[in-house]
């Protein structure tokens, strides 16, 4: 019955393909595990089913993704979740208004330190290193030792200034008492070069998406000390980004794209489809890593022996837990971290920015056309749930995962300035009082 329903719907969409403003699309992706929804939508025919002819364009850097999207070379792209916000604000580059109406996945990053740094952390604080996740308090002691001995500061790398990786690494460091601005040096290194740089010793640790943690562990170059899941359970990672101008000119195409990618995400999240996902990702140079590293990353790998347990927790979640929904509370959290670490230099109306860039309203239209449940609220308090919970405020109730932060803090998206004022370690350039006044 269900299958028949889907067939009837897809026939309707093929006909509705006529109504699309544009059918041939060029989508940008970066060779990472979480390009999976784009790859699967193409390889398994979900784009076609929704009337789209898609070419996937492999991009080597996030800067290229942003610039090619801004220039109209790409219609849409896999982006780091904070990128559409940064691009709209014009921090880090020329301002180009962008938006997202679809989240591509939750989780999937981890922090890995070099084998040598791991050994030193274990020596100074065996208890902190024995715990999961490893506490950065052990790192603080190593840093203190280095300072007394006059050694160079440790260098940590992330993939892009406006990335969940950057904020997750900084959150982990600061929770353990390490000030990312004063106590270590922070660098930008592309994902595929992380392991190489760790090996040559030019960096001591990094936060990156899979498979590049599994890859370093697999080669014995480093040890993973915390996953993004452990820093913030089911935290947002990548989104589908488009320019505001493109979205305004192609509303029907945009929704078709979202429907195809929700279909793909739902398909990938079924455990029985993971193996095929791995093989499709490893093929055609979608991801340049050994199949073993991809398998381990998608199964949760060596971090816990029980792969099933990790399927439920640490590895990328593509559909379950409303993973595709663009929560505005996620966006407010990213803006709060841009403020916390001084990336935003002037007070701004956070809610106005977030409302323009994160578009749950567009998502709901697409979800409704597809007949899948969607949350009714745009925001939720983050960090309140230790375990599974049921989201009743949805078109149909949705089973949700935990959303706890490493330090147990709760994030109220309606009051980012109060949240920010609670962190002793920060590098903010905007006064939180002034920020609070901007929103009112």
């Amino acid at each position: 019955m269900l299958l028949q329903g889907a067939t009837i719907r897809s026939a309707a969409w093929a006909a509705a393909g006529e109504g699309l403003e544009k059918r041939k699309l060029r989508l940008g992706f970066v060779p990472l595990i979480d390009a999976a929804p784009l790859v699967i939508a193409k390889e398994r025919g979900f784009f076609r089913r929704h009337g789209l002819e898609v070419t996937l364009s492999r991009e080597v850097s996030w800067a290229n993704v942003r610039d090619n999207l801004a220039a109209g070379v790409l219609d849409a792209a896999q982006m780091l979740a904070p990128m559409p916000l940064a691009s709209t604000l014009g921090v880090g580059a020329r301002a180009v208004p962008m938006l997202t109406a679809l989240s591509l996945d939750l989780n999937g990053n981890a922090i890995t330190v070099s084998a040598d740094l791991y050994r030193r952390m274990r020596e100074v604080d065996p208890a902190a290193v024995a715990r999961r996740p490893v506490s950065a308090a052990a790192l603080a002691q190593v840093i203190e030792e280095d300072r007394r001995a006059g050694r160079r500061p440790l260098v940590f790398a992330v993939v892009f200034p406006f990335s969940a990786h950057n904020y997750e690494l900084r959150y982990w460091l600061a929770t353990g008492g390490v000030d990312p601005e004063r106590d270590v040096e922070m660098r930008i290194v592309p994902p595929s070069l992380m392991a190489e740089k760790l090996e040559e010793g030019s960096i001591d640790g990094y936060c990156v998406g899979e498979p590049w943690n599994e890859y370093a562990v697999y080669l014995g170059l480093g040890r993973t000390v915390a996953t993004s899941y452990e820093i913030w359970n089911n935290s947002p990672e990548k989104v589908l980004g488009v320019t505001r101008g493109w979205a305004e000119r192609h509303p029907a195409t945009h929704r078709a794209l979202i429907r195809a990618l929700i279909d793909a995400a739902r398909w990938i999240d079924r455990p029985e489809n993971r193996l095929e996902t791995v093989h499709l990702l490893a093929a055609e140079s979608y991801v340049d890593a050994p199949v073993e590293a991809i398998v381990r990353a998608l199964r949760g790998g060596a971090r816990t022996p029980d792969a099933d347990a990790l399927m439920a927790t640490g590895s990328s979640v593509f559909y379950r837990f409303a993973a595709t929904f663009p929560w505005r509370s996620h966006a407010v959290w990213f803006v709060s971290q841009m403020l916390r670490w001084g990336q935003i230099e002037r007070p701004l109306d956070v809610a106005a920015l977030v409302d323009a860039v994160y578009r749950p309203d567009v998502y709901r239209e697409a979800a409704d056309e597809l007949g899948v449940p969607a949350p009714l609220a745009d925001m939720k308090r983050e960090g309140e749930h230790d375990g599974p919970w049921l989201l009743d405020a949805a078109t149909q109730p949705i089973a949700m995962g935990p959303d706890r932060f490493l330090d147990g803090r709760v994030f109220d998206p309606h009051d980012p300035s109060a949240y920010l004022a609670g962190f002793p370690i920060h590098a903010a350039r905007v006064s939180f009082d002034e920020l609070a006044r901007c929103g009112s």
């Binding site: 801004a70 660098r187 930008i188 290194v189 040559e200 030019s202």
Partner: protein, 197 residues
């Protein structure tokens, strides 16, 4: 930014395609440029920019290293440098994108030095204009912000001491002179203190 000697511009090339970067290097050196290349074993772009002090960076648009130049707070505040994109001749769309991407990026097609020179010169000139504009804007913004703070400090003094606006301003100036501080620092102190008391 160090003033470059005319005709002796220092160019940093970031390109893993050895043949291409070699050809470009030779061509640029013939044209009188000083070409610097980062050492292979420590391919750390930020450090290269710091140590080699190039006037312009030429980077292969297909190099994943491009993101290393994205740390705007470090590179563009600490060591602002124009960046020239280096793309394949056939790649028309990327060229359009790079040009579109803004003032700090430009494009070199192929490796012929005659064509590289004007692009480099235009890139550097446009970059300087952009930097000047940015500095001007930043100064205008901060002086506006500073004026607002001084106004607030005056307001606090007027309220607390029940004095006139002129007297409040004189009091601020007196504090600044006697403490050898800038007026804006005194204003900040007054505002901070007012929050405590």
């Amino acid at each position: 930014m160090r003033e470059p000697e005319p005709g002796r511009l220092r160019v940093l090339i970031v390109d893993r395609t050895i043949d291409r970067s070699h050809a470009l290097r030779e061509a640029l050196e013939r044209e009188g440029y000083v070409v610097v290349t980062p050492s292979a074993e420590h391919f750390d772009l930020l450090r290269s920019v710091r140590e080699l002090e190039p006037d312009v960076v030429i980077i292969d648009m297909d190099a994943p290293e491009r993101d290393m130049l994205e740390d705007s707070r470090r590179i563009f505040e600490e060591q602002p440098r124009p960046i020239v994109m280096f793309v394949d001749e056939s790649d028309g769309e990327s060229i359009r994108a790079a040009v579109h991407a803004g003032v700090a990026s430009y494009v070199v097609k192929g490796a012929s030095a005659e064509r590289v020179r004007p692009v480099l010169e235009v890139a550097i000139a446009r970059f300087r204009e952009f930097q000047a504009l940015k500095t001007e804007l930043a100064e205008a913004r901060s002086s506006l912000a500073e004026r607002k703070l001084i106004e607030r400090a005056k307001g606090i003094l007027m309220e607390r001491r029940g004095c006139s606006e002129d007297d409040a301003y004189r009091a601020l100036r007196h504090m600044a002179m006697s403490r050898n501080q800038r007026l804006i620092e005194v204003a900040r102190n007054v505002i901070e203190l007012a929050k405590l008391i």
